[in-house]
């Protein structure tokens, strides 16, 4: 994630989620939107709005300025006007996730949860890895669940804390980024998933930032915002440009992930070995309790069928090559080429195993031939 990739925007201190693009501090600065951005950053929303309006006279189509105007309007609680601005942006530039996200923020404040959900889903559709939209969607589901629970238990829904406040995005940083393009090659999952960004209630004074500023030392140790040349197919953890560099989990999860990857690799190899040994009991033990049995048969029938196949006379040899493991928390995907030989049958296939880790043990949840 070089500074070129993300158009210049200033760091900001939102009231709720601390959203900081680490790359920003080094960015070159574009003139007009930057000023508006700064005013927003300083909490001077009225001035920001004035400035944006003035800039828009000269340059009415400028999306960044219009976006910032929407942010200022939201902060000034002029929600309907703000919604209009963002709505217009989503129509003009449906590839940008930020306007969708902010539209959702407004809908959620207005308790229009279904509309908020739809907007967030659009944000995620445009950018599958757009983390704040994921987090917002998670928050939204929690709020909706809360609402349902209140109805179930006849609780007083007037509790102010039940109002949904989702993370507003104050900058467009996805411009120019192709959705789903970059992905980190090093195990990014754990490193990029440092819990949820802390919820910060502090006033947005620029002087005393309640969270690590972009200059904080943490990013240096982290692979987070710098996606090296990637396997393009794995968009998930990649464009998480605004992930909060929470100080704690920088180092450790990466190590844990490496271990997890190693464990998963061993497990897959042992699975192939058990199969080759024709040790049915061992072989079946690699499959999770909730393994997605192929076809319409039951687990019992599937096991029976496997047993019959493997128990057939003659040697079986299962060789694996090009084994790739991708770990994401307690889930992992193993892809490899499988060379299977048994009396009367030699078959090479590309296989994918979906793994899940339970009690520290990796197990197969799904088995697919690609």
């Amino acid at each position: 994630m070089t500074s070129r990739r993300y158009k210049p925007v200033a760091a900001c201190l939102p009231a709720l989620f601390v959203v900081i693009s680490v790359a920003l501090s080094a960015s070159p600065v574009a003139a007009a939107p930057e000023d508006v951005q700064n005013l927003i950053k300083q909490g001077q929303f009225t001035q920001a709005l004035d400035r944006a309006d003035r800039d828009l006279v000269a340059n009415p189509k400028d999306r960044k300025t219009r976006f910032l105007k929407g942010v200022a309007l939201t902060e000034l609680n002029r929600l309907d006007e703000a919604a209009q601005v963002f709505l217009k942006l989503t129509e003009e530039a449906p590839e940008l996730p930020e306007p969708y996200n902010n539209l959702a923020v407004i809908y959620a404040q207005q308790k229009q949860y279904d509309k908020a959900k739809a907007a967030l889903e659009m944000a995620i559709r445009t950018h599958p890895s757009y983390s704040i939209a994921h987090e917002n969607l998670g928050d939204l589901y929690t709020k909706m669940a809360r609402q349902a629970y209140d109805r179930a238990l006849q609780l007083d829904a007037a509790n102010p804390s039940t109002q949904a406040k989702l993370g507003l995005i104050r900058e467009i940083i996805s411009v120019g980024t192709k959705p789903g393009a970059p992905a980190a090659a090093t195990p990014p999952a754990a490193a990029v998933q440092p819990a949820r960004p802390p919820v910060v209630a502090a006033a947005p004074t620029p002087a005393a930032p309640p969270a690590p500023t972009p200059a904080a030392p943490a990013p240096a140790a982290k692979p987070v915002p710098v996606p090296p040349p990637p396997p393009a197919a794995a968009p998930a953890p990649a464009t998480r440009p605004i992930a909060t560099p929470a100080p704690a989990p920088a180092e450790k999860p990466a190590v844990a992930t490496a271990d997890a990857e190693d464990d998963a690799r061993k497990m897959v190899q042992s699975w192939a070995d058990a199969w080759s040994r024709k040790d049915v009991k061992d072989y079946l033990a690699f499959y999770a309790r909730d393994f997605a049995v192929p076809g319409k048969t039951s687990r019992a029938d599937w096991e029976k069928e496997r047993r019959t196949r493997i128990d057939k006379p003659g040697t079986i040899k299962v060789g694996l090559s090009n084994l790739r493991i991708k770990v994401d928390g307690d889930r992992a995907t193993a892809q490899f080429r499988q060379a299977y030989s048994a009396p009367g049958l030699n078959a090479n296939s590309n296989k994918t195993l979906e793994l899940v880790r339970r009690n520290g043990r990796w197990q197969i949840q799904q088995e697919r031939v690609n």
């Binding site: 890895s129 994921h134 969607l137 929690t142 349902a148 238990l153 609780l155 889930r331 899940v356």
Partner: protein
Amino acid sequence: MSRITPSLRRLLPMVLGCLALLVAGPTGAPTGLRAGVSDAGPDATLTLILRDIDNNKLDVALDRTNALLKAYPNFRLGWLIQGDLLLARARPLTTFGNVPEGGDRLRDLRLEAIARLKGYRNRPADTQVPRYLLQMEADQKYAVVVDTQRSRLYIYRNENGRPVFVADYYASQGKAGSNKMREGDNKTPLGVYHVTGFIPREKIGDFYGAGAFPINYPNEWDKREGKTGYGIWLHGVPSDTYARPPLASEGCVVISNQDFRAISGYMQAGRTPFIISDGVEWLSLDDWKSERTSLNATIEQWRKDWESRDTARYLSHYSKEFKSGNQDFAAWSKQKQQVNAGKDFIEVDLRAMSMFRNPGKDMVVVAFEQDYRSNNLSNVARKRQYWVREGSAWKIIYEGVAS
């Protein structure tokens, strides 16, 4: 959602799956499903939702739940499940009804979920009838059987004396469960009763919902046993809810207003049998028929022996524990001997006979219209008898005019 959902999808199925396992019958599937016959309210959909969750189809489950709540907006258990399904998209669940401050209401909804699923999945098969409905008279169009263990109310139609399943519903009972003994014990009575009337909703207020059908607790046997209390009704629920918890009332049987209205048309004041059991015994039709035939034969023998004016033979049908009002067996025997001495002939016809087995105790409540003619007295009266099993024989332990 590619990142968030999959790992979270694991937990909810486990949590709710446990619930499904908990309530699964021996076969795991409803045994008595008859498409189009029964209206089990939301329970059919509820079962499908749980199955979807079990199969990890949370999106389908949520769609189904949303549809269910459209049809039953006051179905609190549905909201609870919706809450879980939504929350599961945000974070892992640790329990069914994953809301920390739920307290008693949450516990009640969980119990309701179990009761509904259990009751729905363990419905009787077509070939089974409740043992209690031995014989309905022609005027008794329908019968009600309540199973307090399953929190279920069953409706049977009288088809030429044979009970035919019509519908079943989730039903709440007393806060303290069943087997009422005394006034204020918050329990639902067990026994053979009948509906005595109807109270419209205007007269009793919203708490009782669509209305009430009182039943004749305490009956003759209850009184003899010293049981107390009164005002046991079948009634509906307040308008702000679809249902009440399994253990909710002060002894009444409570069903949803919709269900109440559905069965109101079946109820006949003074006629409709209302039998409450804490575990309905189901018989095959063959067994049911043979019980019915043998009891009919016993009663026919009693009638014949009465006509024979052989007082000893007639009295052999009565238990030594017999009691009717102030009369015990000795007083009853003496009176019958005196009466029979003055008779040249006795003719007895029994009409419109019903026989209902009492849940638990080996006892049958028999009612009939008795047409009695003799040389010096004739009358027609509605009578009720309680027959009990003593050794291998059935004996009358109570006999009186049916109120």
